[in-house]
Amino acid sequence: MTTATLTLEDWRAWQPGRTPLDDRRLSVEERPGATSLPAMLRRRLNGPGRAVCDMLAALDPGADCVLLHASRHGDAARTLEMLYALTEGEPLSPARFGMSVHNAIVGVHSIASGNRRSLQAIAASGAEVSALFSEARGYLAEGEPQLIAVFSDAPVPARFAYHETHSEPASAVALRLGLATTPSAGRPLTSHDADEAMLRDARPPHPSDVIAWLLGEAPLICPTRRLMWILDS
């Protein structure tokens, strides 16, 4: 088991509605082009799905990295609305059923890009960032030179919004990670215990919080794991 420091080699992010920056790594398009995909594959993806596929194509053009994709709710709109259709005796749409699974987006990306590496889908009840970094350490410790960790989410359907403490518009972020022991030019990324004052105000991190952290605008804290992450320059 290694204790080597994670490094951030590169990143991409998508957050429609955010003020555009002069930074090609951040997209604020309402509907991502998903030009990395043929139209016949692109048509079934929602906004986050299209953004994730574009970000993966940019960060892993050779399609040979291990991919981790975390999402707290996944495509909740499709999944939960299908349950309503079932209770009303309506037949299920096969295409929507196929795309409602948690690994649907990386699956579509895999078909389009030819990536046959390990593709892992994660949901961690608000601790997605922590889970992504833990899983990344595991793969890197086993000898992967780098990998891509993706985090995307979309709001839950309106009739479930009441159960959400912090509903956020859709956004997505992808990080290419390595280890400080490998000869890479990444920025060291370290985890630390978060102090009580920070934990009091923190909410489970959303992809938009990771984007703010990458841009140096806010700290990144996971209250349920009582951790925070520092990105050195």
Binding site: A39, M40, R43, P91, S93, P94
Partner: protein, 90 residues
Amino acid sequence: MSPVSNDLELELKHLIIDTLELEDVTPDDIDRDEPLFVEGLGLDSIDALELGLALQKTYGIKLDADSEESRHHFADLKSLAALVEARRVK
């Protein structure tokens, strides 16, 4: 069998485009004699299930998903239109 009207073929083209979310396809892109699946339009097996469901909802036609007969009906737009003409109940 009566000749299938162009109106029905156009209606089916719209049904295919809308049901299967073919975002960059127009009715003119669908040739009545070209294969709908794999080659030609390039639809896949999930599209076949989705189209079967749409035929059931729109025209009341029930098909057996695995039969050779269904394969024939789904070969191209012309065969699909002939099926709807012959078997529609609504």
